[in-house]
């Protein structure tokens, strides 16, 4: 009886307490390959997702930049048009004549002042 009890306790202690049991397992080569493949696929998916997300982010950023650049171009074109108006104003014959007469004391040439070049 006691011997049986001892035997059973020993078995329990083996099962619960002995953590350094020498257990030998047979590892399947196929299983490792599957795990490796899965890891590889997971890494590839993650990587692809990251690249895809990065590309999308880049696309959105570039689109923002393009929109801003277009807006800047539009503003420059608009400034250009306003400067054209200003230039036309400044080049108006009335203003130039007034400047020539009042500021520079110029006048239309007399016929004898006109020199024809050969």
């Amino acid at each position: 009886m006691s011997a049986n009890l001892t035997l059973r306790l020993t078995a329990v202690s083996h099962a619960l307490l002995a953590r350094n049991r020498k257990v030998s397992r047979r590892h399947s080569a196929w299983g490792r390959a599957v795990v490796a493949a899965m890891l590889l696929v997971t890494a590839a998916v993650v990587l692809t997702s990251l690249i895809w997300a990065w590309a999308n982010l880049q696309m959105v950023t570039l689109n923002y930049e393009i929109s801003q650049a277009q807006e800047t171009i539009k503003q420059y074109l608009e400034i250009n048009r306003k400067l054209q108006v200003e230039l036309a104003n400044l080049k108006s014959p009335a203003r130039l004549e007034r400047l020539a007469e009042d500021v520079y004391e110029m006048g239309a040439p007399q016929p004898q002042q006109i020199i024809r070049l050969p």
């Binding site: 689109n63 929109s67 277009q70 200003e86 108006s92 016929p111 020199i115 024809r116 070049l117």
Partner: protein, 678 residues
């Protein structure tokens, strides 16, 4: 125990697996629901929220003069718009915004409290107002961020870009250009006539926006030729237009006239170089001018041409061969009883006059006899061929055809007689000038051209309006005869001896037309007319000037002819026509220069003018010394010497090539370098 433990672990694993599987199934089911069952609808919803279709405002094309100067240009301005239905507290918003926009708070509140879904609060803001509004927007956005408030009334009042038409030359050619409505559609003048071409094509573009409504990507191009209107290139020359308007205004002020009109045309091509009228209209603020002033009266108003019409009567009679320039007519000493009860008069009494004399002295009786000799029907056909009584076909709205009775059907001899000196017939200044131009174009009437071509935004020609001869009215010989006859008008003894600009000859005709007031010829309201071709031998300009109701003097030769002279003189200079040079010996300058060189060589200290006798010493053989001379002196010297020159710099000559003393060879080019402060 071990078995139990293993079993529990397994159960847990299974439970976790089941949980994960269930989760996966839920995710899968949701995926299926979103992507397959509701996929299409959700995609449409996303499209609606992200993809916005926005209108692209067309950019109205430019109007350019013949040299490419902008006469009308559109720029973008901002307008303030609002959605009143979305605004909750209009009173507060009005109080804040009224001073910013320069509106009264009450009016703004009324506007923002209205039931309209969309209102224009203020259109075409000035740059200052726009800046003030943007500053207000920034201030509002900052305070909203600080409060963390999402919804704001301020979001529903914002700036919207619009195009605004500017006329940088202000009133210059304003009546020709016309003007546009606030929506950018042509209302008058060329703006109206070519509205379809100028307006451009509005289009809609797709725009992707983010959650904040900011534009992520748009189809709209910064410079899009598709939405831009075509540009109009006119035959008008800005400088000549200015000259015509300036001189006309001066004359109108001088004679305290009601107004005036002037037209400058190239007789060879029919191109209108200037089309001036006083009072003028600034299309930038067209609403300030009455409708009468806004109209282009050179086309829309028909006037009686007075004596200026006589040249066409004479041309018809000469071309028909019924008279010769030397034929003599009895001018009845200024009084001719046409019928038992009706007579016509001359201002001054004349006896016998030739055809040339009739035109030179402007005899009404002589002209009436010419018309009689020509015959009513034949005269009518000639006058119709000159373009009177019908529209010229110019590309401009509202052209008046004038009035020309069928002289072949008129029974009254008085009516036929008065038509000969421009009464009972009405013509537009354009018709008068084009008919005059036909005389200067060897008898061929040209179609008047105001628009040279239409080009697109890329500068490519869309449509061209080349010179188009309408018909031959009179023979070349008759036209030449008429020019010779009309040239006597501006010589001493003619009615406008002061009409010719210095150095040029003018073939012209004066006219003093009584105005019809209430169906009766007025005795104190006249149109003073002068029209002329310059130079008389080979006309390059046909100009007509009409001064409306001058005070103090009424005659075309006194009032209108000086305006013609000034316009002609300045326009010829602008176009590069100068009076013929005086006949100076070609080598005279060089002779004196050589003498000067020799004199300087002999007496370097004196530096005086060469003796006049030195010019007779013989032909020059060497290049003169130009050093120390001004550009004017060098040009004068080389021009008279017949040596071509190339000038560089400004100031006084410091070096020359060939050097002084080099033997002159035919075709030699002299390079002269100038420096200031020498």
């Amino acid at each position: 125990m071990s078995y139990l433990l293993h079993r529990w672990v397994r159960v847990r694993i299974i439970l976790v697996g089941l949980g994960l599987g269930l989760l996966l199934m839920v995710v899968g089911a949701r995926f299926f629901q979103l992507q397959v069952l509701q996929g299409a609808e959700l995609r449409r919803q996303a499209e609606r929220e992200v993809r916005k279709t926005c209108p692209v405002l067309p950019v109205r094309g430019l109007i350019l003069d013949s040299r490419g100067t902008e006469l009308a240009i559109s720029t973008r301005v901002q307008s303030v718009v609002a959605h009143p239905r979305k605004i909750r507290n209009a009173a507060r918003l009005s109080r804040e915004l009224a001073p910013v926009l320069g509106l009264s708070p009450a009016a703004l509140q009324d506007l923002l409290s209205s039931d309209a879904p969309f209102v224009w609060v203020k259109r075409h803001l000035t740059p200052e107002r726009e800046e003030a509004f943007r500053a207000w927007e920034k201030k509002v956005a900052k305070s909203a961020r600080a409060r963390g408030n999402g919804y704001q009334d301020e979001n529903w009042i914002y700036l919207l870009p619009e195009a605004k038409r500017y006329y940088p030359q202000q009133a210059l050619a304003g009546h020709v250009l016309g003007f546009c409505s606030i929506d950018g559609r042509g209302l008058e003048g060329l703006e109206y006539q070519f509205d379809r071409e100028l307006y451009g094509k509005p289009k809609r573009v797709q725009r992707l926006v983010d959650a904040r409504g900011r534009c992520v990507v748009t189809e709209e191009k910064a410079w899009d030729p598709e939405v831009m209107g075509h540009n109009l290139v006119l035959t008008l020359d800005q400088t000549i237009q200015y000259i015509a308007e300036k001189e006309l205004k001066r004359a109108v002020e001088k004679w305290q006239a009601a107004g005036g009109m002037a037209l400058v045309v190239n007789p060879r091509t029919g191109e209108i170089l200037a089309m001036a009228q006083v009072p003028t209209m600034d299309p930038n603020c067209f609403a300030l001018f009455p409708a009468e002033v806004r109209r282009n009266r050179l086309l829309t108003h028909a006037i009686e041409p007075g004596s200026s019409f006589k040249v066409f009567i004479a041309a018809a009679a000469l071309d028909a061969g019924v008279v010769k320039p030397t034929d003599r007519f009895n001018c009845e000493n200024g009084f001719w009883q046409v019928t038992a009860r009706e007579a016509i008069h001359d201002v001054h009494p004349y006896g016998i006059l030739t055809v040339q004399g009739i035109i030179q002295k402007s005899s009404n009786i002589g002209a009436a006899k010419l018309a009689n000799k020509c015959g009513g029907a034949r005269l009518y056909s000639y006058l119709k061929a000159f373009g009177f009584g019908s529209r010229s076909g110019i590309h401009f709205p509202g052209e008046n055809p004038g009035l020309l009775k069928n002289l072949g059907l008129i029974r009254s001899p008085l009516d036929r007689a008065t038509c000969a000196f421009g009464q009972g017939v009405s013509v537009t200044p354009l018709q008068l000038t084009m008919a005059l131009a036909a005389l200067g174009n060897d008898g061929v009437l040209m179609e008047p051209r105001l628009v040279k071509k239409i080009v697109d935004a890329r500068g490519e020609t869309v449509e061209e309006f080349p010179p188009r001869p309408v018909r031959r009215v009179i023979s070349r010989e008759t036209a030449r005869q008429m020019l010779a006859i009309m040239a006597t008008v501006t010589r001493p003894g003619g009615t406008a001896p002061g009409a010719a600009p210095p150095g040029f000859t003018v073939a012209g005709k004066t006219g003093t037309a009584q105005k019809l007031v209430g169906g009766v010829y007025s005795h104190n309201k006249f149109n003073a007319v002068f029209m002329g071709l310059v130079p008389a031998e080979h006309p390059v300009l046909a100009i007509s000037v009409i001064i409306d109701e001058p005070q103090g003097a009424i005659y075309g030769g006194v009032v209108a002819a000086p305006v013609f002279r000034e316009i002609a003189a300045q326009t010829l200079r602008v176009l590069g026509y100068y009076p013929p040079a005086p006949a100076t010996p070609v080598l005279a300058g060089l002779l004196s220069a050589v003498s000067q060189t020799q004199a300087q060589a002999a007496e370097p200290e004196t530096g005086g003018e060469p003796p006049a006798a030195a010019a007779a010493e013989g032909p020059p053989t060497v290049m003169p010394d130009l050093r120390g001379k001004t550009i004017r002196q060098v040009l004068d010297l080389l021009q008279r010497a017949g040596v071509r020159c190339r000038l560089e710099g400004s100031g006084r000559a410091v070096s020359q090539d060939p050097p002084p003393g080099t033997p002159l060879t035919p075709g030699v080019v002299c390079s002269v370098k100038f420096e200031p402060g020498f």
